[in-house]
Symmetry: C2
Subunit: 377 residues, 2 copies
């Protein structure tokens, strides 16, 4: 069922069994280096989000490139990262049930720098109770809602909740998380920058107020790939949670950057999907072997990597199939032809697959298990 990965080393990209996710190692490394350099130049730290790539090998590469720690969206992701030997994990969503809190405490045993966000006082008490008797404190960030409305307390309530966290003997208040998810994909860069700075301002104000009141508020964690350069301007921000920058996708490629209004050219699409033509009985289009279950129908339409198929258009064609419509006059793809696509929204698409085929100069050089795949708890 799954590819015997290592045995494929040396195989050409077009010879892979499809549908198949591939990572171009040189493009990936360039993305990692680029973001790391930009964040370091801004005197911040980079805490890449592992929810995007779901791969502990890729996470380790981010650490080796200079990131001191990682983000995880769920406890099960943190567990997988800790199991892979990675440390300094921030769980970026509230952990509220007794079963998950128990597992979070298990991660904390292995990772002294493990931290979790919260947005609810009862949750703070439950986390504190779970740590009782362990002799350890759990690091906590107060999650602040800056307009997405998904998790977090309003900025004006951050100080109050922070002080309640400080009263818990087994918790250690570290700072604030503020994630402006609703801003990341605004197409116009100037507007995106203005919106991000505006909505992050109350979170920065909460940090300043806590510090002015004498609290140790070391961390303001936030930002994503879309606003990374904008948010570097925020003095109070200490760390960036970007995820997509590592591999990119059609959704991010379609927004503008500071220097290019039509294309987000800060990072390159290192991630592509290979898919094969399985039927060619129609005029104007052919049918591919990748559909809803291989490339998630959300956040941008996959598009062919430039070359023979550029100018063609991908569309979903049911659970198992895609449709490649080609321009009039173009060579009709034939049954068995392989097409390479930049994927739609990378996070949920990666979560459909079990491994990345890692390539360099068009040849397979490794296979990395997507070992956090399915970790939604």
């Amino acid at each position: 069922m799954r590819m015997k990965s290592k045995a494929l080393a040396g195989r050409g990209r077009l010879e892979l069994d499809t549908p198949c996710l591939a990572l171009d190692l040189d493009l990936l490394d360039a993305n990692l280096r680029n973001m790391q350099a930009r964040v370091r130049a801004g005197n911040k730290i980079l805490r890449p989000h592992a929810k995007t790539h779901k791969c502990s090998k890729l996470a380790r590469r981010q650490i080796e490139a200079g990131a001191p720690g990682l983000c995880a969206a769920k406890v099960s992701e943190a567990e997988a990262l800790v199991r892979a030997g990675l440390r300094n994990i921030l769980v970026t969503g509230p952990v509220v049930t007794s079963e998950k809190i128990r597992r979070l405490a298990g991660c904390r045993e292995a990772d002294p720098k493990l931290a979790v966000v919260l947005d609810d006082f009862e949750n703070a008490r439950a986390l504190n109770a779970a740590m009782a008797g362990s002799g350890q404190k759990l690091d906590v960030l107060v999650d602040v809602d800056v307009g997405l409305g998904r998790t977090g307390v309003p900025p004006e309530r951050a100080g109050e909740l922070a002080r309640k966290v400080m009263e818990q003997p087994n918790l250690r208040f570290r700072g604030i998380q503020a994630y402006a998810g609703h801003v990341q994909h605004i197409r116009d860069h100037a507007l995106r920058r203005a919106e991000s700075l505006a909505c992050m301002a109350p979170a920065a104000e909460a940090v300043r107020a806590l510090r002015a009141a004498g609290a140790e508020c070391e961390v303001l964690s936030g930002a994503g790939t879309g606003t990374f350069d904008c948010d570097l301007e925020i003095p109070e921000l200490t760390e960036l949670q970007a995820g997509s920058y590592a591999v990119m996708d059609a959704e991010y490629m379609a927004i503008g950057s500071a220097s290019n209004p039509d294309r987000f050219d800060e990072f390159k699409p290192a991630l592509t999907l290979f898919t094969t033509v399985v039927s060619a009985n129609q005029a104007g289009f052919v049918t591919l072997d990748a559909g809803l279950k291989a490339v998630y129908q959300h956040g941008g339409r996959p598009y062919p990597v430039s070359g023979r198929d550029s100018g063609s258009t991908y569309d979903w064609f049911g659970d198992e199939y895609g449709r490649l419509t080609f321009a009039a006059g173009a060579r009709q793809p034939r049954v068995g032809d392989v097409v390479e696509l930049v994927v739609s929204h990378c996070d949920p698409t990666i979560n459909l697959h079990d491994e990345f085929m890692v390539t360099r100069n068009g040849r397979v050089v490794d296979a990395w298990p997507i070992d956090l795949r399915g970790c939604c708890r």
Copy 2:
């Protein structure tokens, strides 16, 4: 990371770690019995599609309920079914690459009744060549396009391709496949029936023409959950490929049936998703722990199972989260509360999970691995 399944036996449904897919065994069995009885009464056979549930334990239950064989969409699904000891598998899409053809031939060694569809003469030659020297023949159905336009030859070319298949010494022509995927979700039952009968008519005509010419054309395989009762009226149809009927979803529940214009009440939603409230700081809605990665954003909106949360509305809220909007005046759900949802499009949603928690009378009685999960090749 994954639940230690058997240890959960006896646990209440609301005590499950979330997000979590659950199967109500009594509802599932009622659906299996009902479809089996309807198809048998129509003098057809039922060949349930395993692409829906991706679970060999559920597939075995369908066999035990009276189905003589199964459908698989991909070779990797067929391999997993064969590995689980199941036989008489029809692969419902063309298998065109040399690697996949080799693996298909491997399945054929274990399963003498294995069959595959094709819609291309070169593909017939390649399949024939792969079987050479094996001393075995591979059963083949000619795939006919009845309007979906995805795979298949036009009905008027079915006879020509069938005769070419008959000329291949290592292939055995068995009949025709015709799947009207574009008709399955038409809301009005009378219109759906009319459309299905109209588009299936040329496929039935192709069967009659082949038989009139003396060909052995034993099989006409097609139909889905949406048109099962309509297609039972087609004399030439020999078998139904329905999949969703076993577990159901919000997409199918929203269309009409023969007896109810507002609800497809032939089968019951045996499949639900349990999700937990993780944040409750907003007026009018709370945030759940199930988003794009737990319930696929396609084909209908998940809805709460009637009870405390009925009248509430689910919406996706990013990769990891959902939003439950509750009616004015309703009790506000609290952090930690569990909500049970009928899922959106069941096929791709199931493919996001590793197991079904199987329940009866509200208690966990078993856990079934979703062992075909990720089999997209």
